[in-house]
């Protein structure tokens, strides 16, 4: 029996289990892309409009979320597609691939289901092989559909195929990164955290490299985010950069396989050490218990957002530099360089808020796992009231969301202040993120409401979060009408420092968040506890 015996059967089982989840991802990614192409074609129909758009892509924001900027000089549909869509697609594919691989490797081991399977005729490497094969298949399908869609819109066949293949290979690379992370950490949650951190660092490498030099410098080449665009589809196609994906995937898979051979099922690479025989002074109530449980994730998220923010803050100097060397930008942005920097940074604050919102929702949703595992039952069987328990979970989530938001504002401010040598940016950006605080809290509050009153509606929460991110990231490009933009939770409050603070919407938004939190407490007080 080889290490991979049963991988095929297991792959079919994985596809069966996740048929809806994977179909939704495939439809959403391939469908959005196919829908965006005619929109782009329509929106920028004249040469003038297209070159105006290209100028925008040559700004810092354009580089961060566009890429190294190949083909901007002749911005036809092909290059437009590659510049406008690639980063969004890659980030989404990274999220999909990491979640999938973790779900079918480490999370399975953690739950004990892997033990059940491994007791059958199943090789030790089969679960990981199945996770990787299925995610490879899904990525290839998505890449293939995108390539076909592009060919369908009369774009060059070879370039479209290369682009689709590049996207798919990038997705598989992110899955392979997750497979390595799954060997290191014992928990599904920390595995995905580690993988997302790695992907975030790789994204930043590309951003910094692409900012430094048009077309990217050596730093960009260290990032799988770069290689799709370095193949230069619709500009000067070269397949060679795509080979890098192949090499890296093989290296990662071999690493993961070797690491997994060095450990037991369910164990991490680092063995669990004995701990204290009794609880310390601090661990005496539900709030300290929550903090104890979430400590790792609060620190990780705060640090990750801080790092992200500092690195984006320091890009302010690039904005300044571009503004000085490229007089055309004045025509677009006006003459005040501070306005341009402020516009860039206020745009980045919305990413901080999105991150904090996702964190808040995840933090609250932990209560569901606690409940279904029976730990909530155990706690409530002691002299702990339901409102006290749920309320403390909400308080911990709210305070740590505030932490993440402040870390983001502080990071942006410090980064910008350091490179621009102007301390005022710290205060400005702290104000900017705090002015968006209700938007960072609203998904946590909604998660609480769902848990307290209607646990089955969790899907709705993710739907709205997904839509809000889509509208905020892509809405401008896709020319969403005002009402559609206003459906995004992140578009309801003005963005400082470019826009002015308005007290009334802020108070109303905060009130809605508090109301949802309060209703969730009433709901949790009055419902049956659900234990699996």
């Amino acid at each position: 029996m080889s290490a991979f015996t049963g991988a095929g059967t297991l792959s079919r089982f994985v596809l069966r289990r996740d048929r809806i989840r994977l179909s939704v991802w495939t439809l959403a990614l391939a469908g959005t892309t196919a829908a965006v192409v005619p929109v782009l074609d329509d929106m920028f129909s004249t040469e003038e409009e297209r070159q105006g758009r290209a100028a925008l892509m040559d700004t810092p924001t354009g580089i961060v979320f566009g890429g190294p900027g190949y083909g901007l000089d002749d911005y036809t549909l092909g290059p437009m597609m590659v510049n406008e869509m690639t980063m969004t697609l890659l980030i989404a594919m990274a999220v999909m691939s990491i979640l999938h691989v973790v779900r079918h490797t480490r999370a399975e081991e953690e739950s004990g289901r892997a033990e059940l399977l491994r007791a059958n005729v199943l090789g030790s490497g089969a679960p990981m092989a199945a996770a990787l094969m299925t995610i490879a298949l899904v990525n290839l399908v998505i890449g293939g559909v995108i390539a076909l869609a592009l060919i369908g819109f009369d774009l060059a066949v070879a370039d479209s195929l290369a682009y689709g293949l590049g996207l798919a290979l990038a997705g598989i690379t992110f899955g392979a990164i997750a497979a390595v992370c799954a060997q290191v950490s014992e928990h599904g949650r920390s595995t995905s955290g580690l993988a997302f951190l790695a992907v975030g660092v790789l994204f930043m490498l590309r951003v910094v490299g692409d900012m430094a030099e048009s077309g990217g410098n050596l730093l960009s080449w260290f990032s799988p985010f770069a290689w799709v665009q370095q193949a230069q589809p619709y500009h000067d196609l070269s397949w060679a950069p795509l080979a890098l994906y192949g090499l890296v995937i093989v290296a990662l898979v071999i690493t993961a396989h070797l690491l997994s051979g060095r450990r037991d099922l369910g164990a991490g690479l680092v063995a669990a050490r004995p701990g204290p025989a009794g609880a310390g002074r601090l661990l005496r109530g539900v709030t300290t218990l929550q903090l104890n449980q979430q400590r790792g994730s609060i620190i990780a998220w705060t640090l990750a957002v801080l790092l992200f923010a500092v690195s984006f803050g320091t890009l302010a100097t690039e904005v300044e530099g571009m503004f000085e060397t490229n007089p055309d930008l004045e025509a677009v942005f006006g003459t005040d360089v501070d306005d341009v920097i402020g516009g860039f940074l206020s745009f980045v604050t919305s990413y901080v808020i999105m991150g904090a919102a996702a964190f808040g929702a995840l933090s609250v949703l932990r209560m569901r796992a606690e409940e279904s595992s029976g730990r909530t039952e155990l706690v409530l069987s002691a002299a702990v009231g339901r409102v006290a328990l749920f309320g403390s979970a909400l308080a911990v989530a709210a305070v740590s969301t505030l932490f993440v938001v402040v870390a983001g504002g502080l990071g942006l401010g410090l980064g910008a202040a350091a490179v621009l040598e102007d301390g005022a940016w710290v205060g400005r950006l702290l104000q900017a993120v705090l002015a968006q605080l209700p938007a960072a809290m609203v998904f946590g509050a909604l998660a609480a409401l769902v848990l307290g009153a209607a646990p089955r509606l969790t899907g709705l929460l993710w739907l709205w979060l997904g839509y809000s991110i889509l509208a905020t990231v892509m809405g401008g490009l896709l020319e969403f009408p005002d009402w559609a933009m206003n459906l995004s939770a992140f578009e309801l409050l003005p963005r400082l420092p470019v826009e002015d603070f308005e007290p009334l919407p802020y108070v109303l938004y905060s009130g809605a968040v508090l109301l949802a939190g309060a209703l969730s407490l009433v709901g949790f007080r009055n419902r049956d506890l659900a234990t699996a």
């Binding site: 661990l283 730990r375 155990l378 069987s381 002691a382």
Partner: protein, 309 residues
Amino acid sequence: MSAPAIDARGVDKYFGRFQALDKLDLTVRTGQVAGFLGPNGSGKSTTIRVLLGLLRADSGSVRLLGGDPWKEAVSLHRRLAYVPGDVSLWSNLTGGQAIDLMGRLRGGLDTRRKKAFLERFELDPTKKARTYSKGNRQKVALVAALASDAELLILDEPTSGLDPLMEAVFTECVREIKEEGRTVLLSSHILSEVEKLCDTVTIIRQGRTVESGTLDDLRHLTRSSVHAEVEHDPAPLAALPGVHDPEIDGHRISFSVDHAQMGAVLSQVTSLGVRSLVSNPPSLEELFMRHYGDELAALNGGTEGGERA
């Protein structure tokens, strides 16, 4: 006499359209060890969760330590300790930390008792919960419950993960708890355990109480089983009054017999020339089987037939 520690009457509980509890009655007097028996899925854990105020009864009355378990959960829980059937702990905490935490959440823990029970259950409190086996997780919850000064212990299949040695330790501990005058509700499907420990037994099936009383009360309701090998044809025995379910295999016969007829039947067996004779007193198992075997299946008609085998 004071109010019973647990007094549930006519409790109904629905999950959607599924009826988990159906006019369930359960009474446990203070100071008693009460067995709570039923097969998987019969509603034992649901009943316990209603008693703990984790689920709200749809109808009927539930009193626990003289209070309403739904409305007065917090104050009542100071006076009770609970061991769930499937203990899930915080994976990054050690067993010792979890025990202390549970004690503190309940309002205090006697560290001397904690130490004593840790030793008796041979539990290493410095191990992280994720490295514990099912049995060890159960021990954590047991030590936390036993080391408390709770008046009432609610134990949901507490020995399902313990080895026989630890089961013996557990039996011992429950006896001590009883001597201290505390009340125990012990849900189980391990009948010997219930037989050893319990003053009263309540048997439920499909959310309904089908039998309850002291073990002696219940024994009167049942039969002993007899296996005999005789020299002559054993067929006449089958026709005797009080003999049930006879099975004849050549000179061998097995049957069960009502206690009232035992003397008459045995003298008939003897008259046929006994080669061997084994008679088992009615065990709880037979009580149990009687309720989950023929009687209720017959009572419920053909609809339940599929569950018999």
